[in-house]
């Protein structure tokens, strides 16, 4: 009897030791990794792309929501809490888009990434938020009480997001701050050149161009000015040039995802498939929408690929419009790998759709 107990205790000791070693191995491996690189966790893939640009090889970035997923909804999984537990920096929109994020941060038991701490970045800080509701009431649907939170759909907002991420990185790794600031400068100038073209950025400066574009005044300003005999509008390059045919184009979108994108490029959204944000379409709303589209001759519809695309195509078919279905964020469809790719693809797809008659 006694030797059986002995064997048992010996066996349980072996078991305990092997379990302990198993537990230690991954931890020490991770500790090594986190010493060399800053572990950044972001909510959306657009932030991932920007954080990579700013952080360079000094960071590893992972996103919680994939590019073809709905950022409003994330089902909690144990792996997400583990991910946040190991995060040095957590980047979220900071509005009420990711309502799932605060409980997840609580669950992760990582005090450094709580809102207000050094390891937390609110990507939307300093961005002029549009569509702020005048009255806050659930009767208006699933409204975002702070305004439209889909900030990553404007290239210009990308610069502010990058600034916010840079500030966060400097807080958690002060020694590399100048490296991050250099990358930030490069990223911002990349955005400007891709947005307006290099000649115009050199001539008018990024600040003025950015403000005019955000106030929807850029095209009319450029049309009225000349420099050394050539009209400024002819010097425009980048996305703003490419998207010029989309100016005043009337479209219908499913949800208010693309508010910032359409504003900056002068596209007019005249209706939504949803009667109110987050509320599924009802027969009366759909029939009045179809009537409106026929009356105003609207030929383009735009929807994120996580919405029920059959419905969008159904309505498009009824009014013989083109349905543009695309990812809302990078990595959500083939060839859309970075923050910059999304604008190339959105503009290309809308141009193709608007040319089909």
């Amino acid at each position: 009897m006694t030797h059986i107990i002995k064997i048992r205790t010996a066996f349980s000791r072996v078991l305990a030791i092997s379990l302990l070693t198993l537990l230690c191995i991954p931890h020490s491996a991770q500790a090594k990794q986190s010493q060399s690189q800053i572990n950044v966790v972001v909510t959306q893939t657009a932030f991932k792309s920007i954080a990579k640009s700013v952080g360079g090889d000094k960071v590893t970035v992972s996103a919680i929501v994939k590019g073809n997923q709905d950022p409003h909804i994330v089902r909690p999984k144990p792996s997400l809490a583990t991910k946040l537990k190991e995060a040095d920096l957590f980047v979220a929109t900071g509005l009420d888009l990711e309502l799932w994020a605060p409980p997840l941060v609580d669950m992760s038991n990582n005090p450094n990434i709580r809102s207000g701490q050094n390891g937390y970045v609110s990507a939307s800080a300093g961005i002029h938020i549009s569509e702020k509701p005048s009255t806050v009431s659930r009767a208006e649907g699933d409204v975002h009480v702070y305004g439209n939170p889909h900030i990553h759909t404007s290239p210009l907002n990308g610069k502010v997001i990058a600034e916010n991420i840079c500030t966060g990185l400097c807080k958690v790794a002060p020694n590399d701050c100048s490296f991050f600031k250099n990358n930030l400068k490069k990223f911002k100038s990349d955005v400007d050149i891709r947005m307006f073209g290099k000649p115009l950025v050199d001539m008018l400066g990024a600040k003025t161009l950015t403000r005019l574009a955000e106030q929807r005044k850029l095209y009319s300003f450029l049309e009225g000015k000349e420099y050394k005999g050539s009209r400024l509008i002819d010097l425009l390059g980048g996305w703003m040039k490419k998207a010029m045919p989309l100016r005043h184009l009337k479209i219908v979108t499913f949800h208010k995802n693309w508010g910032y994108f359409t504003t900056v490029f002068g596209i007019e959204v005249v209706g939504y498939m949803e009667p109110k944000p987050g509320i599924p379409p009802s027969p009366g709303h759909v029939s009045s929408l179809i009537e409106k589209m026929k009356k105003e001759n609207i030929k383009v519809m735009l929807a994120a690929n996580y919405f029920d695309t059959g419905k969008v195509r159904g309505v498009a078919q009824k009014v013989s419009a083109e349905a543009v279905i695309t990812a809302l964020s990078p990595e959500g469809e083939p060839h859309m790998n970075t923050f910059f790719d999304q604008f190339d693809i959105w503009i290309d797809k809308l141009l193709a759709a608007s040319k089909k008659e």
Binding site: D70, G205, K207, Y227, P283, G284, K294, Y306, G310
Partner: protein, 435 residues
């Protein structure tokens, strides 16, 4: 746009659904396997989800094939689990099967990216029925109808009395498999258009109405089809004019009509009709009282507790503080910008003018400020010179500023707008314009 243009296809789809589901519903009620519909629907949905995992879009034909294959597997399982002597009721196995399939679908969705909304697709919506969907479903249902018509004796005998079927030497498992196979085939089509809930109601509600009125199959079918059509027309019309989601409206109306029918039959069939009518009136009164009670309970509870509204109010407050903070930061920024301006400007400009100039966001705004505000000519000249001296001023605005200098002095002081090194020109300007 009138009601027909948008509601015609959903209505036709409902008619096709009523036609086949009323018939199948009668079988289901007789067999006492009410939830077989939900279980098969969930199996078909699992098929669609699995297909999505391989990149097959839920609207495509290959996806339909996936769900039919899965429904066939489900049919085989239901046929095999029918026991001669019921140790475990088959309904329990069907329920368990439903739960396992639903759980598997959730697990598959978790491992597949972009599938958050696939459950919406699986739930379907009658409002989005298209004519080609209706056509395909009608052909498929017709085929099933033909099979059931040809073998009506076998199916009916097993449904009504499995014991007699055993005695007659029928291969019950084979016929059960065929029954569930055709059933699953029908469900695969219906659920993707109409959604699980509506299909379940179409299956059970008309059949119940018919069962309550007559035991004869022929009349059951006629009554089921007639009431099904009537309630659907009413439901879709209400949905259109009151602007309510179509499926739930039809379902709720079915519930309401069933209650009415039950009450009507209770009075008609009661031996003492007046007493029965009195009971009904009492029940209606009790229902009204109960509704009022729930209403006031809701109001009373919502006063004390933290509700959605308080959350929204908190958000509004934090929004206001956020706005104040932004404003404060802007004022700080202006103060910082003033220190960045040329210090000699203070000789010519007041403190307010300095901060207004510093408040301008970019070169264009500064230039507009210089051009449009009522300034003395030395003040304007001082600002233009400072503007031209700033190496950050973009070339286009230098050009425009130089025009102002020219208009003030008819001289450009050899200022080169493309160069960063204009120290001499700036000094000349200062001498000529500021003294």
């Amino acid at each position: 746009m009138n009601i027909l243009e948008i509601m015609a296809a959903p209505f036709a789809e409902c008619m096709v659904l009523v036609a086949i589901h009323t018939y199948l519903g009668i079988h289901v009620l007789k067999r006492r396997v009410i939830f077989v519909d939900l279980a098969l629907a969930q199996t078909a949905a699992l098929g669609t989800t699995m297909g999505f995992m391989f990149g097959i879009m839920p609207e495509s034909g290959s996806s339909l094939l996936f769900s039919i294959v899965f429904a066939t597997i489900g049919a085989a399982i239901f046929a095999l689990t029918r026991m001669k002597n019921d140790v475990v009721p088959q309904e329990a196995i069907i329920g368990l099967f439903y739960a396992v399939c639903a759980a598997l679908a959730i697990l598959v969705i978790q491992k597949t990216s972009g599938a958050e909304h696939i459950d919406d697709i699986l739930v379907g919506s009658i409002l989005w029925a298209r004519w080609d969907d209706v056509g395909i479903a009608a052909v498929a249902y017709f085929a099933v109808g033909v099979v059931h018509f040809l073998f009506r004796k076998q199916f009916m005998l097993i449904s009504e009395s499995p014991k007699k079927a055993y005695e007659a030497g029928l291969n019950i498992q084979f016929w059960d498999f065929i029954f569930y196979l055709t059933f699953g085939f029908v469900i695969s089509f219906s659920v993707r258009i109409a959604g699980v809930l509506l299909v379940f109601v179409f299956l059970v509600a008309p059949a119940i109405m018919a069962f309550l009125l007559t035991p004869k199959l022929k009349y059951q079918l006629i009554i089921g089809w007639a009431t099904g059509t009537l309630v659907t027309v009413m439901g879709l019309t209400v949905s259109y004019y009151v602007d309510l989601p179509s499926g739930p409206t039809v379902i709720a109306l079915y519930g309401f009509v069933l209650v009415l029918q039950g009450v009507g039959l209770y009075i008609v069939r009661a031996p003492a009709k007046i007493a029965a009518a009195r009971n009904v009136v009492l029940c209606v009164g009790a229902t009204i009282l109960l509704s009022l009670g729930v209403y006031y309970l809701g109001i009373w509870l919502s006063n004390g507790e933290e509700t959605e509204n308080t959350r929204l109010a908190e958000a509004a407050v934090s929004l206001r503080t956020e706005n104040l903070k932004v404003e404060h930061e802007r004022i700080n920024a202006v103060e910082k910008h003033i220190t960045e301006l040329d210090p000699w400007l203070t000789k010519y400009l007041s403190q307010e003018q300095m901060s207004a100039y510093a408040y301008c966001a970019d070169s264009l705004e500064r230039l507009e400020y210089i051009n449009t505000l009522p300034l003395k000519s030395t003040q304007r000249a001082a600002l233009v010179i400072s503007f031209l001296a700033d190496s950050d001023t973009p070339v286009f605005f230098r050009m425009q500023a130089l025009e102002i200098v020219k208009s003030l002095s008819r001289n450009n002081f050899e200022y080169d707008i493309d160069s960063c090194d204009n120290i001499e020109a700036i000094e000349k300007m200062k001498k000529a314009l500021l003294q």
